[in-house]
Symmetry: C2
Subunit: 411 residues, 2 copies
């Protein structure tokens, strides 16, 4: 809904609720400017030096809920606060051009034990210390914030009844760099001078097959007596016992034949293809927040151990390129990408933005709306249909369009 509030950087936003089938939107979105105040003197520097400026970051989040809206709603309220908490310790360090200290003394004033002269020990593989970048500290802060958010959902699920789970796609702009963190099947791309730069990948039973199978192999108790960690191209039938069937183990990317044994009649941990791929015949997305109560249908077997709350974080340096007003970062939930290719999105970016003046603030909102409506389609022939007459996305669809070069002024 258009609140009339202008978003930072003139960000465009639009959403539709599963093509009008229900009134409840399981997608949630959040856009904030967050100020991080440093903790006092984490590096042990004298007090007058450590009372520096805090840090500001810009934040956009898309949370695609499933099995209830609780997790998405909670994440949209709190995830950026967890990120702020994680960054608090780093406020001084990130503004200091020298490499981050490896070790922080507990008492201010204690000599910094990261002094390289302490490091020369007899262990040959440690002859040099690892260089850790500022950038990797921000990545680590975002990763840990996702985990703490997920742990908070686990703690509070009884009291506040956090239902369901959600995919989380989050953008943090801090000190000249854009961090795109993705846990789930949403997607982010940059469209720059017509060129497409992927900024995320999807985490599904297909893309994470080997991680899931390895976990089932190493911890067979997580499979109960109902599942096998082996993959088969279709369900094995009891009458095929003793015959030889194609399979894939967790170490394999190719296929081979194996003789079917009794255990192979169990349901495969990972099955199906594309949008129908499932873990434990239940869930089609393998990373995200929440889902602590998720069980296999008509069973008590928990699915959460196979889901990861950790995002993949990609970094884009905004200062490395002179961006024009038509360069944008597009974030969308799977409702957009299920029916729209990256190239179609890039074409819509070009078509819509060129119809507006470069300094017209509403052009990014118009673009977000065009993307969302293009994926939903229009009602025709008993369904929402795309121009090519295929069915539109029946899913919730949420889209952010973040301009990378003007009219937003970044700090």
């Amino acid at each position: 809904p258009d609140t009339g509030r202008r978003l930072p950087w003139s960000t465009g936003y639009a959403e539709v609720i599963n093509a009008g089938k229900s009134r409840h939107n399981e997608d949630q979105a959040c856009c904030e400017v967050v100020y991080v105040e440093g903790r006092r003197s984490v590096t042990g520097a004298p007090r007058e030096l450590s009372r520096g400026q805090g840090l500001c970051f810009y934040y956009w989040g898309l949370f695609d809920g499933h099995a209830g809206g609780g997790a998405a709603e909670m994440a949209s309220r709190l995830l950026h606060r967890h990120i702020r908490e994680q960054l608090k310790d780093l406020v001084e360090i990130l503004q200091d051009p020298s490499p981050p200290p490896l070790c922080l003394p507990t008492t201010p004033g204690t000599p910094d034990s990261s002094d390289p002269s302490h490091l020369l020990g007899p262990q040959s593989c440690w002859s040099s210390q690892k260089e850790v970048t500022h950038e990797s500290l921000v990545v680590g802060a975002i990763e840990n914030a996702f985990q703490l958010m997920d742990e908070q959902m686990a703690r509070e699920r009884r009291g506040h009844q956090v239902e369901g789970g959600c995919c989380a796609l989050v953008v943090v702009y801090l000190l000249g760099k854009v961090y795109v963190a993705n846990a789930g099947d949403s997607r982010a791309i940059i469209v720059r001078n017509g060129e497409i730069i992927p900024m995320s990948r999807e985490f599904t039973p297909e893309t994470e097959r080997q991680r899931l199978q390895l976990l089932g192999f190493l911890k067979p108790e997580l499979l109960g007596s109902e599942f096998t960690h082996l993959e088969f191209p279709r369900r094995v039938l009891p009458k095929e016992l003793g015959q030889r069937m194609l399979y894939r183990d967790q170490n394999m990317t190719g296929w081979a034949y194996k003789k079917i044994e009794l255990e192979d009649l169990r349901f495969p941990l990972v099955c199906g293809e594309g949008k129908k791929a499932r873990v434990m015949a239940t869930i089609g997305v393998t990373r995200g927040l929440g889902d602590h109560n998720l069980k296999v249908c008509s069973s008590t077997l928990p699915i959460k151990p196979f889901l990861s709350c950790f995002p993949e974080v990609r970094v884009y340096d905004l200062t490395q390129y002179e961006h024009c007003p038509d360069d944008v970062l597009v974030l969308g939930t799977d409702g957009l990408w299920d029916v729209t290719t990256d190239y179609e999105v890039a074409a819509t970016v070009d078509r819509v933005l060129s119809a507006y003046e470069p300094n017209d603030h509403s052009r990014y909102t118009a673009l977000a709306q065009a993307l969302v409506l293009g994926a939903r389609g229009t009602p025709r022939d008993r369904g929402w249909r795309l121009p090519n007459n295929k069915l539109g996305s029946g899913d919730d669809i949420s889209v952010f369009v973040i301009p990378l070069g003007g009219p937003g002024s970044y700090s």
Copy 2:
């Protein structure tokens, strides 16, 4: 040593033994043409149809041994036989243009249960069966051959005393496609019309950090009381207990600070950087064959559980491109790549091959020799030095140069 035998496809080969420091070469190489006779009637087709042609594959292998030459020697004698065994079941299937059957009946003549009409069950995620390609069957055959080779080494290590382990880089040419399988830190690149196409990646404690840490996290008993699965940028000192130090967990690609606890004083499972990176302070390569007896120094803790015998297999379709006589696949052990970049190799390919007539069979051997000698350097200033005066590779160096377009005639 030049045996005078001409290798298939006029392949060039050259080796040096760690710059003359010892007489024993821990590298082994193998180049063979292997005929695969089919098993009788695996698909249950009538006998007269199944007595088809066998299959022929071309095979090149480089085995870089460590801690003894036994594993490399055994792999160079036997790995291609394991591949042949795995392909035996596939001889008919690979020559039949229709998709591979999902299930092979045990008794010839039994109706083929891969008939799609059997598949339409109530399980929604199985509504379509997975399409398995011929190519992925060859990949699976090579993957399983590596595992069976490793298991044979485990079985025979007492009797025949298989010492040490080896990296394995293997090329199989079969039915128009080149399969490059790599387990270890050797490398393969194609140089085609001056362009570099990477055909492998290296498996080291750095590139496999997250796999190793995850295993240590899920199976802490494998770490004994000596190691921690956490990564630190340097060894933690006892006096740092209670201070906050940078660390990475198995789920993280970034870094964060954690308070040092007693457990963190254990030695990290993965430590060091570059050529000095080690698993359990011992081994610098994380995939390969053998190493069943490898223990942590002055401990009984086995390292083998952290090593994988599975290769990554990349496929290159030779028929998709018209190759010229200067297009080559270069295989080298790490002794080559430690001191030579892909670009330097491509430059040497250009320089050496252009000095010979395109139909001169000796040009690929001359190129292999140039690559090996270039990486070893020449004796000067008390050491083997490269033209840029840096030290040459003190390691064993073995190189195959496989021409992709003439004068070899492929079948």
